[in-house]
């Protein structure tokens, strides 16, 4: 530990060092993950050459194709070549689809990001509202009702939610399309209409987790002496929670949110499948079945990157919200 800084500048310097350490450890994690992804994808039986030529291919033909594709080179060389490509923005060439991986991902990533972003916009405010409300009414009827609902939402499998949603809104009521295709033209409202059911399904899953964590984090604070002091100052219940409690509960809340939201990108595979939505998660599953290693590796790295970024954001918010770290 450095000597205790006294001025504000040294406090900020301390903060920057703290954040730089977090970023550095994030990058290190990313590197280790890339290594693991590379090794694991190498463990899958068969390779792209075998897959392309089919079961009946002669060993000579497979070997020739392997050599042509560079698959016969030592693993370390292939790893470094791949890593250098990733850093340069070129994750390789998909032999299965016969096009650059970057192009395939470029066609899918925006879809995934739109779905994740819209789900976040719905889920986060909803989760905060539910969590805060039930914490304020702790033990009351409303709290118990919200508790039961969120518990049921956590327990329900997402394919069930999605299927029921399709049955109700698409089959019975015919309000919404059962297949979520991003309209090439049309405004934001068309987009919302197309994506309403995937957003609904995804939100239900993550809202429950986030709301329960928010409630727990706030209730942990409510028993502390400073909350009683605020009450005895005549602070209103809403001000108490929003102004006094929330800043102290924000660190566990954002961390829970980061974990939940990271699910929206990679965990959306079932929802993407049910609604036939062209997202990244289903792309990755296809890559596994077709042994498309460059594509599989690129997808895994994107998911990992997203997850680490979310955790990094959560860490940063937690550090900034804590005056002991922000203002030493």
């Amino acid at each position: 530990m450095a000597a205790p800084p006294t001025s504000r500048e040294s406090g900020n310097a301390f903060l920057l060092i703290l954040l730089a350490k977090r970023v550095a450890s994030g990058l290190l994690t990313l590197f280790l993950v890339s290594l693991v992804v590379f090794i694991i994808s190498g463990l899958l039986p068969g390779d792209a050459a075998q897959e392309m030529l089919g079961q009946s291919a002669t060993p000579e033909a497979v070997a020739a194709l392997r050599q042509q594709m560079g698959l016969d080179q030592p693993a370390a060389v292939r790893f470094l070549r791949w890593l250098a490509g990733l850093l340069g923005g070129d994750p390789g060439f998909s032999l299965v689809a016969n096009m650059p991986v970057a192009d395939i991902i470029a066609s899918r990533l925006p879809n995934s990001l739109i779905l994740a972003a819209l789900s976040t916009l719905v889920a986060v405010p909803l989760a905060l509202t539910i969590g805060i409300t039930s914490a304020m009414r702790q033990g009351g009827r409303l709290d118990r009702a919200l508790n039961t609902t969120t518990l049921a939402m956590v327990a329900l499998p997402e394919f069930l939610i999605a299927t029921i949603a399709v049955l109700i809104f698409a089959v019975e009521l015919r309000w919404l399309p059962s297949i979520a295709l991003v309209p090439a033209q049309g405004g934001f409202l068309d987009l919302l209409r197309a994506l309403a059911m995937p957003i609904l399904s995804l939100s239900i899953i993550v809202v429950a987790q986030m709301a329960r964590m928010t409630r727990a984090a706030i209730i942990a604070q409510l028993g502390l002496p400073y909350v009683e002091m605020a009450r005895l100052k005549g602070v209103s219940p809403a001000r108490l929670v929003l102004v006094h409690v929330l800043p102290n509960a924000i660190a566990p809340i954002v961390n829970a949110m980061a974990l939940s939201l990271s699910y929206l990108l990679g965990g959306a595979v079932i929802v993407e499948t049910i609604f036939n939505y062209p997202g990244l998660a289903s792309l990755m599953v296809n890559a596994v079945t077709s042994r498309d290693m460059p594509l599989l590796q690129a997808c895994a790295m994107i998911f990992c990157c997203a997850y680490l970024s979310l955790v990094l954001i959560a860490d940063t918010v937690a550090i900034l919200a804590n005056p002991r770290l922000r203002n030493r």
Binding site: P225, K233, V235, R239, R324
Partner: protein
């Protein structure tokens, strides 16, 4: 004239609304004239805080104001609804909590919290409120009154926070101020300043006050009237001087007796015995140790002491003086940076790993807070059985027999053995905590503030028990405390720590009258006496005389920044020498004949 505050037949219950509810406060009546100060005194569980909080129409979670009436001016407080109460709290009635450190919101600046009552009750705009806050900071003698509001709670000391909390309470000019043990968590030298600041600030606003405390001597300085409470009922009520000088109730007399523990006679120790524990030139602290044996962040500097078999050494000092670190070094929890710790003639290894099981057994540590030191999920049997098995290999019937002996030794019934610790009272828990140490059959017990978390009456009983155990078992104690009265009651020798140095060490008799080291003098002089008017007699301490800059790198007196007897050119230039005083103690000071 109509009294300002009138409470009649107050009743508070805990638990349900039906017959299962437990009454925790019953039939309490009192009145306070405008501008008067009423003290509520009693032990924990007496209901004093509960009663004080009802004046704001507030009952803690699980409690309920079940009956009676509370009138403040013309307002019937129990007749108000929630918004009515919220409008009252922090505006007409203000509260100063026991632990300011826990009662300030850790993530908001002090100024935002201090002006909040004035803003939410619409008393003034932010600018006026901040100006008023700064003037209150000045009145409460806070350092840097113009900028202290920009700090966060963790950047301030306990004494400063307590005064800032007073500023927060007084900002709306409340007609009633409730002070709930506001100085209990403070060091005695800080307490006297805070008491003075409170008294002045409350009086200058003409506010009526309720002062909640367990400390009679503090109450004697603050209150006009006293209400003595026990188990939720009034035992005695009257004018302060009358209650303090001629108490009529037995319980009040018990409280008075416990407030000033009588010295326990020391058993005759055979003279010239080899010391049991001997420490020479000890340095300890945190961080890297340099080649001269000084740690990066030193906590203890050049400590030397010795405790004979069956003797008791008191270690006294304020928070941060290093007294707990000393106990931890002896126990092996902290490695000394340099210096020797000898036990029964043998060098004691610094760390836990190199110590033998027998060395562990012979030195036992008793922590301050039995609530956290004892595993709440374990029964008394499990807690005492562990050391019996570990050190003595006792099992089955032999273990039960020894356990019964131990419980008898600490004056608890043997039937308690099966009980879970969480179900015991504070005093019982501390006795079990002590029995856990005794189970090892130690030669030396390190007592770290063992009575500080207890009520005075319970604490006095623990002191009696410690003195008895010492006579019966020939135990030696290192008794650590911040309270000089407690230390003088039980110890043969006393060491005063300040900033990690032993500024004075000597026999207990030397602490009865001056001369002292200047810090000991401050410490002894800050302990309130059990009579009204004492606080007024203590003239505010003069500012330390001006001196030149301290010589860089010199090993100067640690008390220099606060010392009112410091000498320019001597204290700020040279390391203080050790002097022997006629009273029998050694002091670390430049004054050859100590002050006073």
């Amino acid at each position: 004239m109509k009294p300002h505050v009138e409470v009649k037949g107050l009743r508070v219950t805990a638990g349900g609304k039906d017959d299962s509810a437990i009454t925790i406060v019953e039939g309490v009546d009192f009145t306070i004239p405008r501008g008067g100060v009423l003290a509520l005194i009693g032990e924990s569980g007496s209901g004093k805080t509960t009663i004080a909080l009802t004046l704001m129409g507030y009952a803690r979670s699980g409690c309920r104001i079940a009956g009676g009436s509370i009138r403040l001016g013309d307002t019937d407080i129990l007749g108000l609804d929630e918004p009515g109460l919220a409008a009252l709290r922090g505006d007409r009635v203000a509260y100063i909590a026991q632990s300011a450190a826990a009662s300030f919101n850790p993530s908001k600046r002090i100024m935002d919290q201090v002006v909040e009552p004035a803003l939410i009750h619409g008393r003034m705009d932010r600018k006026t409120a901040e100006a008023k806050a700064v003037s209150l900071f000045k009145a409460l003698a806070l350092p840097q009154p113009d900028s202290i509001g920009n700090r966060y709670p963790h950047q301030l000391s306990g004494g400063q926070l307590q005064r800032l909390m007073a500023a927060m309470a007084l900002i709306t000019g409340p007609e009633l101020v409730i002070l709930d043990e506001p100085t209990t968590a403070l060091d005695v030298t800080t307490q006297i300043e805070v008491l003075r600041a409170f008294k002045h600030a409350v009086a200058s606003q003409g506010a009526t006050a309720i002062y909640v405390s367990h400390d009679l001597a503090v109450v004697a300085q603050m209150a006009d009237q006293i209400l003595v409470l026990n188990k939720g009922r009034v035992r005695e009520a009257g004018v302060a001087a009358q209650v303090l000088q001629s108490p009529t109730d037995d319980y009040t007399r018990t409280l008075m007796a416990a407030a000033r523990p009588a010295p326990k006679p020391a058993p005759a120790v055979p003279p010239a015995q080899a010391p049991l524990l001997e420490i020479k030139g000890l340095f300890a602290g945190y961080g890297k140790v340099d080649n001269t044996g000084r740690p990066e962040i030193p906590v203890l500097r050049d400590i030397s002491l010795s405790i004979a078999k069956g003797a008791t050494l008191g270690v006294i000092g304020e928070s941060g003086s290093g007294k707990s670190t000393l106990a931890r070094v002896v126990a092996g929890l902290i490695r000394p940076a340099s210096g020797a710790v000898n036990f029964d003639g043998q060098r004691l290894p610094g760390g836990l790993e190199q110590r033998s099981r027998d060395q562990f057994r012979r030195i036992q540590l008793v922590f301050q807070n039995a609530d956290t030191a004892l595993n709440p999920a374990h029964s008394v049997e499990e807690i005492l059985g562990r050391p019996l098995r570990f050190y003595h290999g006792l099992k089955g019937a032999a273990q039960r027999k020894r356990m019964a002996e131990l419980l008898d030794l600490i004056r608890l019934p043997a039937s308690l053995a099966g009980r879970a610790c969480s179900g015991l009272s504070g005093g019982q828990k501390q006795r079990i905590n002590l029995a856990r140490a005794l189970a090892a059959k130690p030669d030396l017990i390190l007592c770290d503030e063992v009575t500080s978390a207890l009520d005075t009456v319970v604490g006095a009983a623990i002191l009696d028990l410690l003195a008895e155990l010492r006579r019966e078992l020939g135990l030696a104690y290192m008794f650590i405390s911040h309270d000089i009265g407690t230390v003088c009651a039980i110890c043969d020798d006393i060491m005063v720590l300040y900033g990690g140095t032993a500024v004075e060490i000597g026999p207990r008799a030397a602490y009865q009258a001056p001369p002292f080291h200047p810090y000991t003098d401050l410490l002894v002089g800050s302990v309130p006496e059990l009579r009204a008017g004492w606080l007024e007699e203590q003239a505010a301490r003069p500012a330390p005389p001006a001196i030149g800059p301290a010589l860089d790198g010199a090993d100067l007196c640690r008390f220099l920044p606060r010392c009112t007897a410091r000498i320019d050119g001597l204290c700020n230039q040279f390391t203080p020498p050790r002097h022997h005083l006629p009273g029998g103690s050694d002091i670390l000071c430049h004054h050859p004949e100590a002050v006073n």
